[in-house]
């Protein structure tokens, strides 16, 4: 029983950062119609921002995380301008270009930090006990920030004018531009937010995962599973699927092993693709 409860707490931590990554990926897909294969490398870039700012240059942890958010957001803007805008008519081309970008980011990380694991000391050593289960402050911090960021994103999307424009573009880009919404402006905002979310997830978890230049691979696999299970254009679906997948993955890892957990996750995704390609929460017409 204790182990079950502890695993559930661990799963909540995993769900929170996975949700950040998957929501970012869905935002990019929603507005631009492109699957960003380099999303895992954006996470990696965020993690290395913390390696550089916090572990090497001794800035405060929170400031380093903010630095990671802004830096990766700007990388996202660069991708939008250089890759996705010229390839807007060609979504498969955008995907392939993002694979090229992934290789570039990976190599830059190898040049800057070497192939070996970057070590990031924990920013706090405290922990709390919740009904017998232990949760370190480091992990609690990830959960809290993820919830705050997602709540802020929700308010932004539902309340602000930009949010309306963003959702309008996701539903029907042509009709939106007829209403005077700038497609480029909206794409920039979506790309900045989407990339920044991946970056902040990497920055937050950097002390917990020991980043390597190749960490993006497992991240993108996870993100794909989540957005497919959740329905590829659905933000709510991405969050729910992140929680679902985190629980399945963490429990299988604890009771069997990590590789089996990955196989189960991928099989889950294949099953969803076969039975209901729109995902568990996706809209019908996205088939």
């Amino acid at each position: 029983m204790d182990l079950l409860w502890q695993t559930a707490i661990n799963a909540m931590y995993a769900a929170s950062y996975m949700a950040l990554i998957a929501v970012g990926l869905v935002m990019i897909f929603g507005v631009m119609g492109v699957i960003n294969f380099a999303h895992g490398e954006l996470y990696m870039a965020g993690a290395y921002c913390v390696v550089f700012l916090y572990a090497q240059e001794k800035f405060p942890f929170l400031l380093s995380v903010a630095g990671g958010l802004i830096f990766v957001g700007i990388v996202g803007l660069l991708m939008e301008r250089a890759l996705f805008r010229p390839l807007r008519k060609n979504p498969l081309g955008g995907l392939i270009a993002s694979i090229g970008f992934l290789l570039i980011l990976q190599t830059l990380a190898v040049f800057g930090f070497g192939r070996r694991m970057g070590h990031v000391p924990p920013s706090t050593h405290g922990k709390i006990e919740i009904f017998g289960a232990i949760l370190t402050y480091q992990r609690l911090f990830v959960i809290v920030v993820a919830i705050l960021l997602l709540a802020a994103l929700w308010t932004f999307l539902k309340r602000s004018k930009f949010g309306w424009a963003l959702r309008a573009c996701a539903q029907d880009a042509e009709a939106a531009s007829l209403q005077g919404i700038s497609m480029n402006q909206t794409a920039r905002i979506a790309m900045f937010i989407g990339a920044a979310l991946a970056g902040v997830a990497g920055a937050l978890t950097a002390p917990l995962v020991s980043p390597t230049p190749y960490i993006g691979h497992s991240i993108i696999v996870t993100a794909f599973i989540i957005i497919i299970v959740g329905g590829i254009g659905s933000l709510e679906g991405a969050v729910i699927a992140a929680v679902l997948y985190a629980f399945v993955h963490t429990f299988v890892t604890t009771f069997f092993d990590g590789v089996i957990a990955n196989i189960v996750g991928l099989a889950l995704m294949l099953a969803v693709l076969v039975v209901r390609p729109t995902g568990l929460f996706g809209a019908k017409e996205r088939a």
């Binding site: 390839l87 090229g100 590789v259």
Partner: protein, 345 residues
């Protein structure tokens, strides 16, 4: 060939004998090539020949319009199967190669049931997932797949020794010719398939799948057929690789390697049969001659990534489109209305 659509442009008697002559020259050049190379370059030439088969088989799959991310894993199925058959069951190597190809084709046939319920992005991601599952199974199950370290000391091709003629396939030159023969035969089959009625149907499914369906083409069966044939040849390529290098492991067939296949195909261009071959040859030569020469080995993924992006942005039809483009440009410079009309395509 009774099909007029296929035969039309290239098949005058003059053109045809010209094409044959070119082929003879090509093979003559390929036969001389290894003797001009150093030992390590010969080894690269062997791998290049194998990669030509890999990327050409990939092109057959893309004919139907589907882009798979699992093709390298399918190659791995052939490699693992052939290696295990030879190592564990003592199946003679040329036979195990063939069975390995069949295993790869069989795997594709099974996978086609879930995968071809999807199209486009979904197929891409689905094939990626299926490939990762296979790869994780190799990694997880040490018996018989050898786990993360993979299989080592895989049997080589048996030496041929008939008294006056003896060939040792440990020598890269000899393996080069062996691979050249197998790959040429495979390419010939692939070429004939593409030029056949089946190949035309693949094209039809790519450009007009609803229309093809409405005139009675079972698109599911044809997509599966393309996938199975492509996988068979990928499996053969895998077997050739395994028995040459002597070791296989799950990392060798990871998605990073798949990216290279994508780069070759896209940089070369997939519209024609020779496009992807051009891509793999040019990029391998650049890689081995230029990058290794300049000591830029670590920068290789970066340069490949940049090449990929640049070719998607500025050369979407690949290197193969350079020739016609250049010709059109030259003709335009020379002016002359007849010339401008002549090579519009």
């Amino acid at each position: 060939m009774p099909d007029p659509a296929v035969a039309a442009p290239a098949d005058g008697p003059v053109r045809r004998s010209f094409g044959r002559l070119r082929l003879v020259f090509l093979f003559a050049a390929l036969a001389v090539l290894p003797y001009l190379l150093s030992y390590s370059q010969q080894e690269i030439a062997v791998l290049l020949v194998i990669n030509v088969l890999l990327v050409s088989s990939y092109r057959l799959l893309t004919l139907t319009g589907e882009w798979s991310l699992g093709h390298v894993v399918i190659m791995g199925v052939g490699a693992y199967a052939s290696a295990l058959l030879a190592k564990r069951l003592g199946v003679p190597v040329p036979l195990s190669l063939l069975i390995g190809g069949c295993m790869a084709a069989g795997t594709a046939a099974i996978l086609s049931f879930p995968l071809f319920r999807m199209k486009g992005f979904y197929f891409l991601i689905g094939s990626f997932a299926a490939g990762e599952i296979i790869r994780l199974i190799w990694k997880r199950f040490t018996d018989p797949f050898g786990g993360p370290k993979g299989l080592k000391r895989i049997d080589a091709f048996p030496d041929i020794d008939t008294g006056f003629l003896s060939i040792d396939f440990y020598e890269p030159v000899n393996y080069y010719f062996l691979a050249l023969v197998v790959v040429s035969a495979s390419l010939f089959v692939l070429y004939r398939i593409e030029r056949s009625r089946i190949g035309l149907t693949f094209h039809a499914i790519h450009w007009q799948d609803r229309l093809a369906e409405s005139v009675g083409v079972d698109t599911f069966r044809y997509r599966t057929l393309a996938f199975v044939i492509a996988s068979f040849f990928a499996g053969i390529a895998g077997g050739l690789y395994a028995h040459y290098v002597g070791a296989v492991n799950p990392t060798r067939f990871s998605v990073d390697q798949m990216v290279y296949v994508l780069v070759w195909a896209i940089v070369g261009g997939t519209a024609t049969f020779h496009g992807p071959i051009l891509g793999v040859v040019v990029l391998t030569v650049i890689n081995e001659m230029v990058l290794r020469g300049l000591g830029l080995d670590t920068a290789r993924p970066l340069i490949y990534g940049a090449i990929l992006i640049l070719s998607v942005l500025y050369l979407p039809d690949g290197l193969e489109s350079l020739g016609p483009r250049l010709r059109a440009w030259l003709q335009r410079r020379r002016g002359g209305p007849a010339a401008a009309g002549g090579e519009a395509a």
